[in-house]
């Protein structure tokens, strides 16, 4: 068991972990952060996406011990102090149905818009291709992202 310390959603936290515990399990079971979801446990579905130092990762493929000293952001962190324009657009365009993939999808879309404020449709598709959504058919997700992009100043 090792003690690790890292910034989680703008707060310095410490937690004891075994080397073989994944970041996903530690966030959910030891730190009470439940938005990252387990969908496949092998990096295929993207439901467990979180950001480490601003880059999206599959938290099921990261051992928690690796993030010692780094900064981890989950959807809970993005939603504070209020929902982002992207999240509001997700509501407006019905960009989710069951909602289970939404945390991962929003993490990926947030990263995309951070890096590329005005992505074209192909760039949006490519950026989201690692997030599986079984409900929406993805079109409403594209619409929400394009809407945010359109409303941003060029």
């Amino acid at each position: 068991m090792a003690k690790i310390k890292f910034i989680l959603n703008n707060e310095m936290r410490t937690v004891d972990v075994e080397p073989n515990e994944t970041l996903l399990d530690v966030l959910r079971d030891k730190m009470g952060v439940k938005s990252p979801k387990c969908g496949c446990d092998r990096g295929d579905c993207g439901a467990c996406a979180v950001m480490i130092d601003g880059k999206s990762v599959r938290s099921c493929l990261v051992f928690a011990i690796e993030v010692n000293g780094q900064e981890v952001t989950t959807l809970e962190g993005i939603s504070q102090p209020k929902l982002t324009k992207l999240q509001e657009a997700f509501i407006q365009f019905n960009s989710f149905q069951c909602g289970y993939c939404a945390p991962g999808v929003i993490i990926s879309a947030t990263e995309l818009l951070n890096n590329n404020p005005h992505p074209d449709l192909e760039e949006i598709k490519e950026a989201l291709s690692g997030n599986l959504c079984r409900c929406t058919g993805y079109q409403p997700i594209f619409e929400a992202i394009m809407d945010v992009s359109r409303k941003r100043k060029k």
Partner: protein, 784 residues
Amino acid sequence: MNKYKFVGKPIVRIDGREKVSGAAIYGDDIDFGPNLLYAEIVESTEAHAIIKSIDTSEAEKVEGVFKVFTGKDFPYKFGLYMKDRYIFAQDKVRFVGEQVAAVIGRTPQAAKKGAQLVKVEYKPLPVVTNQMDALKKDSVLLHPDLGEYPHVPWFFPKPKTNVAHWRKTRKGDLEKGFKEADLVFEDEYFVPRYAHCAIETHVAIGKYDLGGRLTVWSSSQSPHTQRHLFAEALAPMGLTHKDVRVIAPHVGGGFGGKAGVTMEIIPAALATKLKGYAVKLRWTRQQEFVNTYQRLGVVAKLKVGVKKDGTITALDHKIYWDAGAYVEYGANVVNAVGLSAIGPYRIPNVSIDSVCVYTNLPPGGAYRGFGYSEMLFGLESHMTQIAHKLGMDEVKFRLKNAIKEGDKTAYGADMNPNGLLECIEKVAKEIDWGKKIVSKDPKKAIGKGFSLFWKAPAMPPNASSSAFLKFNEDASINLIISGMDIGQGYQTVMAQIAAEVLSVPPSKIRVETPDTDRNPYEWQTVASHITWSSGNAVKKAAIDAKEQILALVERVFVIPKDQLYLEDEAVKCTTRKNFNLPLRDFVVNGIMTEDGTFKGGPINARGMFLPEFSSANSDPETSQGGHPNVHYTVGAGALILEVDKDTGKMHVIKAVEAIDAGQAINPDLIKGQITGGLLQGLATVLYEDMRYDEKGKLLNPNFTDYKIPTAMDVPDEIVPIIVEVPQPDGPFGARGIGEHTMLPAAPMIANAVEDAIGIRIKSMPFTAEKVAMAMLNLKNKKGK
């Protein structure tokens, strides 16, 4: 144009903020504290075998292992329509992955380590993985005791065979029908098995507390049905329905996979032997593929007779279903299609045989479409083929034979009001039917495909819904119902229905996920019946509330009720313009009269709906006589497909789908069902399928090799069209559309592939490989 204030409007979802912020709680998100136990399942490695012995001694020695259970501890059967399944395998296993034992650990690691050490000795039996083989006389029998299994009265198992149910539908005179035909055309179609692939895997937590009550938290489409089946199966433990409670949090996708009961009964049963503890079971993705329901595989043999003018005279449809090792739910898929395999057509002479066959593959069960996708792949491929053979345009052929209101269904009941012709015409126009598109790229060919679809809710004749509605002090409302929002937008739609009756905006109505202790009965969230059935119950509850409100106002203000109405969260009066009594002034605390006393009190209302006209009683040899289906939802679809002639890769340029929703309660949510359902359907025809080896082992139990569509796989354009021919007994005329949106996908692709490259493919899926190799073979043949 719209006569309603909230119905028919694209209201934003009332569960939006919690779902986009990560606040929504799903089964695996609930905390149970440090005393929670974890279950790990020991699964059968054999597809068919006698269990000779189970040695749990090594597992019990593992530090942190709390207890180990086997089938001996739970000799109980369960099943929705037929009790053919045990909680744990007893003396026999019948599919790879079947639950044989459970190891309970203090930590998930201990449980898993223990499970790896349980030794099971098997005596293998012959394995049958294909329904056609299982039908042969010399096939091994999966259930020698089939004749003794309890089942619903509308199932017809054939003891001492592998036929679990045989639905026969007969109408008119088949032989005469074929004699009248100028052309009789026969063909065969093949559909493999598919997996639902909700992104959330199954999870359930059982707790049998020291006070003697069993609570199960479960990711479920069917909390009340689960409670019922748990109570039934565990009755020998002394449990009654009131002692069993199912709490269903948000569900991370259902698609039929979380209907009825599958793995949830395991933690429910385990809990009864772990008194005082909560025990959790969560499927891994691999287990999700193997040990839940799967969509059944199909071999369909079709024979259709037509006259030169295109009139269909006869249809003989034989459908053989690979239903897996247990058919307690899957047999009803077979039943539903056996009643409806004429498709949305007017055909005078009909014979349908829908045969449910046991095989040594995982249990088949409900999957979005409930067998209709599989049936329509063959039927709608066949209709296009036969139109071509007649030299007739396939859309004109369909228009000529399409079923209309009042036409007889195969089992003799009248077809409900519907907008099928309008759907066909609108789709044909939108897709520019009849106009051939030539690709600018010589490597590509472009084709168009068309298909009709229909589906009725498959449910027992007495499946019911109910609703409670209570007002709060500020005239906001808690609507207490037990359907599940599995993503389709159920909570929002129910809020819109109540809002319409009570003139309270949906944003002031809260709908929570259910708890069977507190929420009234709902059969299940399946069959695309929930908008219709639960919607009726909600509407009645809202009317009940309205009646209570108006009666109170009538009593206090002495205004005749028929002069009172609700508008903008207030009671108003047609004869007194200035009368305006805000609901918030009295719906909880009553109305103060001149002497300071109060009249009225909290408005609590209820509503219930059961389709009293429905009946499953019919002649077992013909299916004539009953009214098994409450109504059909119909529609049409078409698409433009681009095929790369060398690589076989296909791309949908445009897809159009028209569906008759009766009355769209929320058009945006219907469009969401179309974009989502269509993609799910396209995936089944373009790349998904479950691959088994000859020993019954699934070869692709993960998303690495079972490919579900990504953002890179969507059509360029989807045009949803909503047609509205009201359903007379639906809430505001509405009927369900959720499953239907994926139904036409496979035949549309099949028909478009043929239109593009002249090759008819009759076996799903149409992978790029299959198309490319077919092209190559054709080229080589022509070369010779």
